[in-house]
Symmetry: C2
Subunit: 355 residues, 2 copies
Amino acid sequence: MSQTLQIEKANELKNKPDVSTVQFGTVFTDYMFTNKYTPEYGWSEPSIIPYQNLQLSPSCQAIHYGQSVFEGLKAYRQGDDILLFRPDENFKRMNQSLSRLSMPEINEENALNALYELLKVERDWVPDGEGQSLYIRPFVFADEPFLGVRPSETYQFSIILSPVGGYYGATQLNPTSIYVEDDFVRSVRGGVGFAKVSGNYAASLLAQKKANELGYEQVLWLDGVEQKYVEEVGSMNIFFVRDGELVTPELNGSILPGITRKSIIELAKHKGYTVKEEKIHIDDLSEDLHNGKVTEVFGAGTAAVIAPVGRLNIHGVDYIVNDNQVGEISLDLFNDLTDIQYGRKEDPFGWVVRL
Amino acid sequence: MSQTLQIEKANELKNKPDVSTVQFGTVFTDYMFTNKYTPEYGWSEPSIIPYQNLQLSPSCQAIHYGQSVFEGLKAYRQGDDILLFRPDENFKRMNQSLSRLSMPEINEENALNALYELLKVERDWVPDGEGQSLYIRPFVFADEPFLGVRPSETYQFSIILSPVGGYYGATQLNPTSIYVEDDFVRSVRGGVGFAKVSGNYAASLLAQKKANELGYEQVLWLDGVEQKYVEEVGSMNIFFVRDGELVTPELNGSILPGITRKSIIELAKHKGYTVKEEKIHIDDLSEDLHNGKVTEVFGAGTAAVIAPVGRLNIHGVDYIVNDNQVGEISLDLFNDLTDIQYGRKEDPFGWVVRL
Ligand SMILES: Cc1ncc(COP(=O)(O)O)c(C=O)c1O
Ligand SMILES: Cc1ncc(COP(=O)(O)O)c(C=O)c1O
């Protein structure tokens, strides 16, 4: 991105929807950021253009061979200010994903600046309702028209924006239910589980469907080698409150290193909690749920921030957590984290970027 | 595909290239087949249209969440006849891939008929040079404009065609070299290794690069659980000649069930060889290479049909197979199989479809 950012004006702007009735990820703003990579010039065509269809060859590499990575973060409104939460972490992780799929890395600083410029253009799209935000989706995909298993020579990097409602109202966290999956495997060490790559999500859908059919909202994945250690939930990392301490699976190459996960660990330590990252055996977990040592369970991810888990099925046995009510520590962390994200509380960590 | 096939004429046709100088997968014919899926009507818009760009939303599901599967087969010319090799097997496997990614299955018979119609229109594109063919790429991808981890509601099924040269001249099989990968993992049981899905290929590129940098042409993958059992090569299955018998890893959920693999097993048995499908421990393999029990190694896949392996690196040790020469049995099977594919020899199996 050595070249300067071009901006192409849209002829007309869309009507902004009532975000409280909008379905997640279905409405997009007027503009998108786009950049193109060629071997000769690198990332050299940064521009903000009207939101529009991609023109792709039917032999486009990303469609056939899956070189495609993405990120997800949110912009929050506080009065006239737009707040971002640790956006640098997203572009850092994007580069880790890119590198795992043999794709060219982006310049993180340029990407951040491009995002800021795009948000300046699209300021009015950041909603101000309770729990609402502007979901930001950066993604990079291979567009070379070529059928053969080797890295593409050309790529596109885009950022699109979608206004979204809260998953739940701020104080109305609805406990979710999860099914521990014994057969299907999401990822294994040596694979691409730690990267945010398109293929991981398609591969997870069948297990998700199975969990839904069995009456659970989400899947809890076990490790791919022994199928015994807790990894993560569909698109969230997982935390347990055990003997008053926070415990979460340690990063091992097959778990996605969530930015919410990382932030909760830092925030909780700051608040004086003991936090442990360790291997969690599923049998130990069921025992600790049974004997009452584990008192709260929650998922952590950008979309829901914190999602309390009220019911958990392990090897066919249902465990009810905290009477299927939102736990105290879950709520405390949720409030603190969202207060920082929306600028309602001081940010002692330097996480928030204010535009 | 209850509706009848529509054909839209192209305004002008491309000049046909000299296939002997064309790079694999870079030139496409004048027409493509396409069909669209909606929840209301299923696969209901079959048509043959001029080869053209796809118009995809930037939030297209396949790009973000990887619901995308493909197939690969070839059409061969014999005089005025066009020959296909077991095309029914490809659409059968495509349905297995689709089902694994929670995508709607296609009607195999309708798909076959669509392919036949497309080939009738594009007959002249099937080249007649030694080892040349028309590579056929059916693929299905999710095109719903929606950011969320759930199956797409809409899909596109296309078939595109690309004239290709032989990987090697018929009697000039050049032995390839393979590197047995100890760290990276392609797939694990419970995952999507048996399915021909886009994400598997992107995930394999980094190991491929490593092998190339170490001086090997291809990767031989081990199983994802113990990293001890031989699985397959980049885009081929693998065979060994051991004590005069053919041995290949048994299908286990993480290996792609190759149609060439299946055909070689059937052909070899028909010719009187003993064929074994079994778990092959990498240490047993290196021992058998060392003590001369394994006399030939070859990959088997649509692209190269049979690719003899002349050099194999296991845990850092290089093993030279059959003096880096094409083995007798490899050549025998290659000749028989390609003779059947090109119609030069009688097909006792009913594999060939003649158009
Ligand atoms: C598989 C998976 N795990 C965990 C997370 C949580 O990551 P983050 O907190 O960065 O949103 C996500 C993404 O959102 C994910 O897709
Ligand atoms: C991973 C993989 N294994 C094996 C094969 C061989 O399959 P087939 O003989 O059907 O071409 C392929 C595909 O071509 C492949 O992509």
